[in-house]
Every structure is written in structure tokens, then in C-alpha cells.
């Protein structure tokens, strides 16, 4: 029905395509530059088709390029990020599910206050927490460790995960809980047998959200770790600083692409859930 190409519809598609180009340009630039040589880019601009395919950029970016005088490429920092993001995502999601379950279904005196305060954690600027975290990490002996970042992201992430799960679980009818209580199920059995089996949609949203956020996070990474302990976002900034003398845009593009790839893949495969996480709460 909508396929008669009136001038209005041509205009709509033209606009949509134009905007699509605008949004895709930076991605295209990175992809194309990642297979261009430094001389090629230097001779023209960062916008252009490769004259020859220089796949070596990826090899150098991954394994041998020098970042802050360490010539191991970004691979160690990628591993750091994975070591940080996987445990932090899993732990914060589980705790959030448990928190959300108790806040939504086992109402207790003051539960709304507890929930309100935890929600505030979503909005609190990171700058307010930098000094206290410095002290906590120092006292726990976790300064400049991946474990320290995991701790930060778990505690910080509980606010988000609790918010997501609690709002999801409030839709579970109270009668279900009553029926289970009469059947003789306790706190954990109800969680395990009734609530968790209902949870995959929200758990996927939460995991994707946490993964993306923790992977992309920069301030904590750059503040609490240095050198070989840094996650990849912090290393990328160090990379752009170290290439400022002799720009190596090809290698850098490859590095940027590698660093962005995990979250891009998550987005491509779990886009629906990613959007749901973004719009959760906002639309309410």
C-alpha cells in the first residue's frame, strides 16, 4: 500500500538515506582507514578509499604497536577489559535480580526509600565517587588492579540492574507469590523456580546494558589504573597521545575498530534488548 512513489515518499526516503550516510560516515572512515597505509592517508585525508589493502594494520594494532612505551599493541588492554567486564556484568546482574526480587515482591518497611536511594545511584555523577573509591581501593589493596575496577562496576552497576529488575518484577502478580507461599515455597525457592524462569527477557536487557556500559566506561579506568592494568578505552586515549608525533591513522583505526567491536557485535545481535534497556524507565 505504501509503495506508490509519490514525491513526498521520495523525499522521505531521500532524507532517511541522507541521515543514514551521516551516521555511517565515522564508521566507514574507521573501517576504510584500518586497511589504508599511513602514507596513503597522509597524502590525501582520512576520508577516502584505500589505494592498496594494508591488512597489516590490524596485526600491528593488535600485537606490536607501541602504546605509552609498551610495544604489545592493544591486545593486553582488550584482555583487561574482558577480565573486567565479564565478572562485573555477571555479578552485578545477579545481585540486581536478587535486589529487584526482594524490593518488588517482598515488600518491607522502607522498601521505597531503599529503592529510591539505589535509583539515585544511577544519576549520581562519577566525579562524586572518585575520591571515596580511591580510598576504598587503597584500603582493600586493590589500587591499580582489574579486581578493583570489577568491584567499582559491580557496586555502581547494582543501581542500574536493581532498577531494571525491580521494575520488571513489579509486573509479576502478587497472587502468584501467595500461591507459592501456600504451596510451601520459601524466599529462595520462589526466586529460583518461579521468578528466575520468568526473567530471561530482563536478564538479557540487563546483561547487554551492563556489558556495553562497563566496556565503554573511561573515567574509572583512567583514574584507578595505569600502564599495563588499563582497560582498552583508557589505552585508546594513551594511543592517540603517543601517535601525535608521527600519526599512524591506519593502525589507530584498526585499534579503534577492534576496541569498538565487542559492543558493536552485542548491539547488532541484541539490538532489540539494547534499545529496551535504553528506553526502560525513560518512557515510564
Amino acid at each position: 500500500m505504501a509503495d506508490r512513489l509519490t514525491p513526498a515518499r521520495v523525499l522521505i526516503y531521500a532524507l532517511l538515506a541522507g541521515f543514514a550516510a551521516f551516521y555511517l560516515v565515522p564508521l566507514l572512515v574507521v573501517v576504510l582507514n584500518s586497511v589504508r597505509t599511513a602514507e596513503d592517508i597522509g597524502a590525501t585525508s582520512v576520508v577516502g578509499l584505500p589505494r592498496e589493502l594494508a591488512f597489516g594494520n590490524f596485526e600491528r594494532a593488535w600485537g606490536s604497536y607501541c602504546i605509552a612505551r609498551r610495544c604489545e599493541g592493544i591486545s593486553p588492554y582488550m584482555w583487561n577489559s574482558f577480565l573486567m567486564v565479564v565478572p562485573a556484568t555477571i555479578i552485578s546482574t545477579l545481585l540486581g535480580a536478587l535486589n529487584g526480587y526482594s524490593l518488588a515482591l517482598w515488600r518491607f518497611r522502607g522498601d521505597n526509600w531503599v529503592f529510591g536511594i539505589i535509583t539515585l545511584g544511577v544519576f549520581l555523577p562519577e566525579q562524586m565517587k572518585l575520591v571515596p573509591w580511591t580510598l576504598v581501593l587503597r584500603d582493600l589493596g586493590l589500587t591499580n588492579t582489574i579486581a578493583g575496577l570489577v568491584l567499582i562496576h559491580v557496586v555502581q552497576g547494582i543501581s542500574f540492574t536493581t532498577l531494571f529488575c525491580r521494575n520488571y518484577y513489579t509486573a509479576i502478580p502478587q497472587e502468584l507469590l501467595k500461591a507459592a507461599k501456600i504451596d510451601g515455597a520459601g524466599f529462595f525457592r520462589i526466586f529460583w523456580r518461579i521468578v528466575l524462569p520468568l526473567s530471561p527477557p530482563i536478564l538479557i536487557v540487563t546483561v547487554i546494558w551492563q556489558f556495553t556500559h562497563i566496556w565503554n566506561e573511561f573515567l574509572y579506568g583512567v583514574t584507578f589504573t595505569s600502564g599495563a592494568q588499563q582497560p582498552v578505552t583508557a589505552a585508546l586515549i594513551a594511543l592517540s597521545v603517543s601517535v601525535s608525533e608521527a600519526p599512524q591513522y591506519g593502525v589507530q583505526s584498526a585499534a579503534v575498530l577492534i576496541a569498538a567491536l565487542p559492543t558493536l557485535l552485542v548491539y547488532l545481535f541484541g539490538g532489540k534488548y539494547f534499545v529496551r534497556g535504553l528506553t526502560a524507565g525513560a518512557v515510564k
Binding site: L176, K178, A179, A180, K181, I182, D183, G184, A185, P197
Partner: protein, 373 residues
């Protein structure tokens, strides 16, 4: 031994007292219906019996044991909910056996109980389905199965039929009643539907604003409602309640509707009632007449001809339902409903003649709204 005894039960939510001193007692095998408009406290009372809400004051006894501090699972009860509350991720089989699993009943016994209940409710073919694959009536039946499999001291029903369409509701109503007769269990059933209450109960507690207005068998509730509230709540169409004046002459006590008006109606009060109504002689009362007590002119009520009083009243509207015709008439200035045989044609606007059954008159004190006689 009483199956359920509730004594001086009070419950408040914040500043609001939702149960104001409830006393109820039923024997084993009874079918108690708690009925009342929404917000009357009936569901809260059921939740307190189940242990899902704590009692404020007073005691709840199940099977002679005080259960105030006993967890729901240990009260020897089973419950059927309005939304059925079937566990959505479990199959019908798992839904029914979940409680036994929680109580660590051995597998073979679980299977046996499941088979028995599935046969009783004829849901054998559904056992491997998920609740989302069932129709409303089937869900209802599974919810009953989950309760039945427990074989408890007390069955609790929280408006279990209100999510069904009208036809299915009538069928399930009969089924539950037959089930009750067959297994002889004690049941407590909450509803806002007075027809469900009348048809199923062996005893009814009519609740209003946190109090039990009347606790009696259905017949008494219907014919001798203890308060004006009960009179107006039970029965559809409801009981006519009109202002009247009691006067006494040589021929006995009479109630006059529209006293002093040219169309005033004088109704003799039967002797059984007159004795108790004596103190209200020459005072205003509220007179209650069931619509079925006003019928076509040639109807005779009972053997004693004096109980059928002929009256004439203008017809304002008729509502033929097929089985009968509801008539709105004006009697001594008051609007009343009558129920006449369907084959009688009553022209609207014209006066018509009716017969009025005085045996079932109810007299209420207008100040306390309580039944006098």
C-alpha cells in the same frame, strides 16, 4: 469440632481499620461464602485465614488449632485465586505437584495424587501444557486441581469465577458445588456476586465496611435479612425498601405506605411479625418487600387467603426478561419493583392490579437499619 473459628478478629492498614471484630464459626464440611461489595474486607479476611496477612487482634483457629503464628504452608489449607495464579513457566503437571515438591512428598505418592486429581477434574490430557496454552475454564480447573491435590482441612477460594465469561461461570459454579458435595471438604469462598453466594453456600456471611452484617444460612439471609444493607445487597432485582407507618387497629397491626396520600396503601402485618413489631406501633419503619412478592392479581400466596392482598398501582415501566416480567410501579408515591408472569401484558402509564404477599414482609428500624420483624 469446628473446622474454622474466627474470634474478635481485627485488622488495620495504616489508619484504616478494614476488619472490625469478626466472629465466625463453621463446622466440618460446610461451604461458607463471604460476600459483600468491593472494599468490604472479605478478601482481607480470606488472606488472614490463609496467613498471607497477619491478624491484628483476635484469633484464627483451623481444625481446633490456633494458627495466628503459623506460616501459610503449615496451616493445612489450599487456595484458588481470582487470576488462578498458575506458575506460567511450569507445565500443568508441575503446577499441581509443586506444593508436594516443596513438602518433599515422595515421587510415587505425588504421581498417585496427581493422577487422582487429574481424573477427578478431567484434565489428564492437559498435564503437559503450559498455562498460556489453556482456555479460561481449563486454567480454572488446573487451579482447582492444585488445591485439591493437597487434600487440605480448608479450601479457600478468592473470587475464582470472576474472570470467566457468564456461561462458563454458571457451569463452574455447579461444578464447584458438586465437588464440594462429593469430597465433603470445608470451603471458604469469597465473592461479590450474591447469586454465587445464594447458590453455593451452606452458610453466608454478608460483609460491609469491615463488619459481618449477617451470618446465616442462605434462606434466612434472603428471607429475613438482618439489616437494610443485607436486604438491598442480596437478591436481584433487590428487595424494595420503602418508608411506611405502622398503625394498629382492631383487626391487627398494619403498615401504611404513603400515609395520608389519596393513594395510600394499607398492608396488614401477619401475626407472627406483629408480636415483635409492637414497640413500633404508630412509628415510622422501613418496609421491605421482595419483588417476587408483588405478582399478577390472580396469584395466591399460600393457603391463607389473607396473605394475598390485592392492590392497584400505575405501571411506569416493564422489563420482559422472558421467564418473567419485571414491573416498575408507583405505590403510595414510592417506586417498587414487582415480578409478574410473562404472559401478562401491562400497558405502561395505566393502573394495573396486583397481588401482594404479606408473609415475607420485613420491617426495619429506620434509625439502626436493623430488622425488627
Amino acid at each position: 469440632m469446628s473446622a474454622l473459628r474466627i474470634a474478635r478478629l481485627r485488622k488495620r492498614f495504616g489508619a484504616q481499620e478494614v476488619l472490625k471484630g469478626i466472629d465466625l464459626e463453621i463446622g466440618s464440611g460446610e461451604f461458607l461464602v463471604l460476600v459483600g461489595p468491593s472494599g468490604c474486607g472479605k478478601s482481607t479476611l480470606l488472606n488472614v485465614i490463609a496467613g498471607l496477612e497477619k491478624a491484628g487482634e483476635g484469633t484464627v483457629e483451623i481444625g481446633g488449632r490456633v494458627v495466628n503464628d503459623v506460616a501459610p504452608k503449615d496451616r493445612d489449607i489450599a487456595m484458588v485465586f481470582q487470576s488462578y495464579a498458575l506458575y506460567p513457566t511450569m507445565t500443568v503437571r508441575q503446577n499441581i505437584t509443586f506444593g508436594m515438591e516443596c513438602r518433599r512428598v515422595p515421587r510415587p505418592q505425588q504421581e498417585e495424587a496427581l493422577a487422582r486429581v487429574a481424573r477427578l477434574l478431567q484434565i489428564e490430557a492437559l498435564l503437559n501444557r503450559k498455562p498460556s496454552q489453556l482456555s479460561g475454564g481449563q486454567r480454572q480447573r488446573v487451579a482447582m486441581g492444585r488445591a485439591l491435590v493437597r487434600d487440605p482441612m480448608l479450601f479457600l477460594f478468592d473470587e475464582p469465577l470472576s474472570n470467566l465469561d457468564a456461561k462458563l461461570r454458571v457451569e463452574m459454579r455447579m461444578e464447584i458445588k458438586q465437588l464440594h458435595r462429593r469430597i465433603g471438604a470445608t470451603m471458604v469462598y469469597v465473592t461479590h456476586d450474591q447469586i454465587e453466594a445464594m447458590t453455593m453456600a451452606t452458610r453466608i456471611a454478608v460483609m460491609h465496611q469491615g463488619e459481618v452484617q449477617q451470618f446465616a444460612d442462605p434462606e434466612t439471609i434472603y428471607n429475613r435479612p438482618a439489616t437494610l444493607f443485607v436486604a438491598r445487597f442480596m437478591g436481584a432485582p433487590p428487595m424494595n425498601t420503602v418508608a411506611a407507618r405502622l398503625t394498629g387497629g382492631a383487626e391487627g397491626l398494619a403498615a401504611i405506605i404513603g400515609a395520608g396520600r389519596p393513594d395510600e396503601i394499607r398492608l396488614p402485618v401477619p401475626e407472627e411479625l406483629a408480636a415483635r413489631a409492637g414497640p413500633f406501633r404508630d412509628r415510622e419503619v422501613v418496609l421491605g418487600i421482595r419483588p417476587e412478592c408483588i405478582a399478577e392479581a390472580d396469584r395466591r400466596f399460600g393457603a391463607d387467603a389473607r396473605h394475598s392482598v390485592p392492590i392497584e398501582a400505575p405501571v411506569e415501566m416493564t422489563e420482559p426478561t422472558g421467564a418473567e416480567t419485571i414491573v416498575l410501579m408507583r405505590l403510595g408515591g414510592e417506586a417498587l419493583l414487582g415480578r409478574v408472569s410473562p404472559d401478562i401484558r401491562l400497558p405502561v402509564g395505566a393502573p394495573a392490579r396486583f397481588a401482594l404477599d404479606t408473609r415475607k414482609l420485613c420491617l426495619f428500624d429506620p434509625a439502626t437499619e436493623r430488622l425488627i420483624a
